[in-house]
Symmetry: C2
Subunit: 167 residues, 2 copies
Amino acid sequence: MKKIVYRGPIFNVEEWKLPKTGTKFARVVGHDAVAVLPILDDGRIIIEKQYRHPLERYLYEIPAGHIDEGETPTAAARRELEEETGYYPKKLKRIFGIFEAPGSFTQFLHVFLAEDLVQKKISRETDEVITTIKISLEKAQNMILRNQICDAKTISSILYYSRFKSK
Amino acid sequence: MKKIVYRGPIFNVEEWKLPKTGTKFARVVGHDAVAVLPILDDGRIIIEKQYRHPLERYLYEIPAGHIDEGETPTAAARRELEEETGYYPKKLKRIFGIFEAPGSFTQFLHVFLAEDLVQKKISRETDEVITTIKISLEKAQNMILRNQICDAKTISSILYYSRFKSK
């Protein structure tokens, strides 16, 4: 029997006892999420440099965010991409999905490939500190190799695209 | 000012207010972790099929676990590999590192490449339900493509190795 022991603004925590040993266990439960790999017509990738409050540092990441109540993953992907980069995707396709931290986090993240991008205006959430860079797939891979990109979903997405999707 | 609002067996939760908007924010704070990509002499990868209590399902993953108090990442990687697969690595090298879920999780995970593996006895933790499979790099990539492998650190590690490390 799982019991909610913490209710927070972004996630809840549930506790229960493991069947064999009776050891107390806990998990973090929150909304599922989406991430979007945006590819420009010239092949460059749009990457964000975002301040991550929990880490107290900047990270290079692809656009991502939680799926709102009642929203489809596709709608969330389109919304997050527009909010964070100002681009609207005429082509948007789910390519894979990941558990980010399955040892304690139930969240599942859907990864989308966004192409045929049309520039619009940015309407960013107030607490987000984001700038974007546009880099080639080769440069992105070099940033992974030098540990300048160290976000799991971003590394997965870039290498997945490089291995399975790019021409 | 961050305040601990939940203390648990595996992680704590801290809350604070964001500077600009005063919005309440929360983060999960736990020990950093390691993951190990074990490569056999014939090139096959050792992958675990592990029951993940938080997800209530099995996942295919590379060996991984938390770094104990006072332990180095390298020692943790060696220990987790032995505990979960029964193999001791004569060659063990850190290849990259990732934040698994930077939106709310401070945990950093170091990924190691383990080679020259020597088989030993398994001494597994009681609550872990793990079996292992040994598969080629090609088969592992096919499992990613079919979404049979859907763990972020495992996808990152296999594709990183495939792109940058394999001969």
